[in-house]
Symmetry: C2
Subunit: 394 residues, 2 copies
């Protein structure tokens, strides 16, 4: 009598949360400092002080009914103008305020973009490894998720593998770079290859193939790595952004969609985005945090801790003999497992190491290690990783 | 190539917004004080000062990562406990924290409740007049909205009209009291009649019929009117609440669902609610405002201004000869029109009166007058209403 699909989704505790809750129990048993929990992607670095200052300033400067009242459904106009100006300055684009739709975070950006375009029978392509909710969002919009394997070794993309996956039913490609769970940033070469194939296939089939980017980790990159801005590479692009990770605000649910104004039908697409947001019950993005995001645009939390963690973890794990792809961004490290990832994670637990198997990310034989933790936790966990490597005689 | 349904939804500017934007233009032409805009339901009374104080206190007292980090998907546990305790104290119920799911406002409460239970072929009943988004939410969940006319004159419900509308496909009744757009509060007698019929039909068909309440206006009632709490009248109830109107926070998107624990399958229903929230991309309700809502629980904005407006508007309009149902709650007055409501609204515009035709609320022959405005606007508008009445020789 209820929706079986929704009930199943609600009852399937995600593997990540399962491990996290095991960790909490274990911490109570043996002490928090003895359990090395690498399961969650919750930023460990606080929001920059300017965030709380912006909140205080807004409370002081604006009327309560203006701060907390409805904004227009696509978001406050001056907030959208500020964001458009920032994007244009950073990326040399010509985005207008009316190309931007403020969202309730990255998940909302993604499902609204999918819902805006999904028709029965449509296929949405993504590369493995990918964030598990992609499958949920595509399915709930009545479409099918098609997985394409990234290249073993560096998780860049072989042009041929994308080309063979595109069919006349392909509506869009969902791209996530920096990637959760691998931390890999797609190179400009890879991006150009991808866009070239999309262009070619559009011509071949005589209809648009859209590109949906999911980029909450855009600013979390290390060593001067550049993340190509897709609006500059492909006209049929929707950029999905969130301030969750750059400003360490994941609970506040604030992000946006940019609809490329170089798209032939860009006003129709923007209308469909507005319609999808309305149909899914979003009304408007949280009004105070729309303004906070605008005031803090271009700032990030102190990501040097993530870089320190990345360096320490990557150099240590490879020294112990593990195979990892060096992550250039986000705060995840994806490590190859010497046997089935589920079995490996159980063995890791004996050393109090809590890791997430790659299976749910469409990539068995790997584990995700979230290094958005205190550096101290990484330092303390290294002997455990070393023993685990010794157990496998790496 | 895009979703026609989403594009149409995005392009259909709601009638309400259309009038609101006409009003803005008109205000620029002749001055804001000369245009009497009664179109929008945006609270005119500021949030109680305790709201901004709670925000400041939370920023001072809690760590940034705790304030702005993810909460669990159903919401912070202590927030849910505070809300459960409050409901139990107010209504003599026995709600647990685990019966509560925090939402991104009333629209989210409603669509999540519908999505949790909707199966192909399902019918959801609501009484006219009703908020137009009900139709959107029911349709996007793949079900059908069935309208049942309220009783002409007082907008209570004739038991027979509900009984004949229920079919074996009826999944739920959506109830909105105090009502938008009529301001009517369903009496305890009406509630008992409704619940009696639902009980009878459940037995007759041998399956559950759910009751979904949409009650963002619960606290906005005047003259000691009581709004029956449905958990005490019907076991298969989901309460949908929002702090938007009671705390004047509509832009912040914060509310909750209570799943009655007297429901036979209450854990399944709660799981389906969690699944629907996840599938629709809500992740968690805004984290700072979850805590603000808990700290300000039981408080309301100063609603005496709404009561003053209601009294002045109702007594004046009826004196001029208009027929209105006296609203006991919310901040809307629903007035019968002497001719087609659309034509009537156009004539009202000549007097700079901006009113919303009832057609979109499933109730032609009426207009909605939102009196969440400064009392001064009502005082100044009365001569215009009087002239309009004279034009119709009322």
């Amino acid at each position: 009598m209820l929706s079986e699909q929704m009930m199943a989704l609600g009852k399937t505790r995600s593997v990540i949360r399962e491990i996290f809750e095991y960790g909490n129990k274990r911490k109570q048993e043996i002490g928090a400092d003895k359990v090395f929990d690498f399961s969650l992607g919750n930023p460990s670095v606080p929001a920059p002080e300017s965030v709380n200052q912006a909140i205080r300033d807004i409370l002081d400067e604006m009327d309560s009914t203006a701060i907390h009242g409805y904004t227009s459904a696509p978001g406050d106009f001056s907030v959208r103008q500020t964001i458009a100006d920032y994007i244009n300055k950073e990326h040399g684009t010509s985005v207008n305020a009316d190309d931007i739709y403020m969202t309730v975070g990255a998940a909302a950006s993604l499902i609204i973009s999918i819902k805006a375009m999904a028709c029965p029978g449509d296929e949405f392509i993504t590369f493995t490894p990918y964030f598990p909710e992609y499958r949920v969002f595509v399915q709930v919009c009545g479409a099918k998720l098609v997985e394409v394997a990234s290249r073993e070794g560096d998780f860049q993309v072989e042009p041929e593998s994308l080309e063979t996956a595109i069919t006349p039913n392909t509506k869009a490609l969902i791209l996530n770079s920096p990637n959760n769970p691998s931390g890999v940033v797609l190179s400009e070469e890879t991006i150009k290859n991808i866009c070239g194939i999309l262009e070619k296939k559009q011509k071949e089939y005589g209809h648009e193939i859209y590109l949906i980017t999911d980029e909450p980790y855009r600013e979390l990159v290390y060593d001067d790595i550049k993340v190509p801005y897709l609006l500059n590479y492909y006209d049929n692009t929707l950029v999905g952004y969130s301030f969750s990770k750059s400003l360490s605000l994941p609970g506040e649910r604030i992000g946006y969609i940019v609809v490329s104004n170089k798209m032939k039908n860009d006003r129709d697409m923007y209308a469909a985005v507005c319609g999808a947001g309305r149909a899914l019950g979003f009304v408007c993005a949280p009004s105070l945090f729309q303004r906070v995001a605008a005031r803090c645009i271009g700032q990030t939390s102190d990501i040097s801790e993530y870089k320190r963690n990345r360096d320490l973890l990557y150099s240590s794990l490879t020294k112990y003999g593990f195979q990892c792809v060096r992550p250039d961004g986000a705060f995840y490290l994806f490590m190859k497992t010497p046997e089935d990832a589920g079995v490996f994670c159980e063995k890791a637990k004996k050393y109090e190491l809590l890791l997430v198997p790659g299976d749910d990310f469409g990539c068995p034989g790997y584990v995700r290690i979230s290094y958005c933790v205190k550096t101290e936790q990484i330092v303390n966990s290294l002997p455990a990783f070393e023993k685990l490597a010794e157990e496998y005689q790496l």
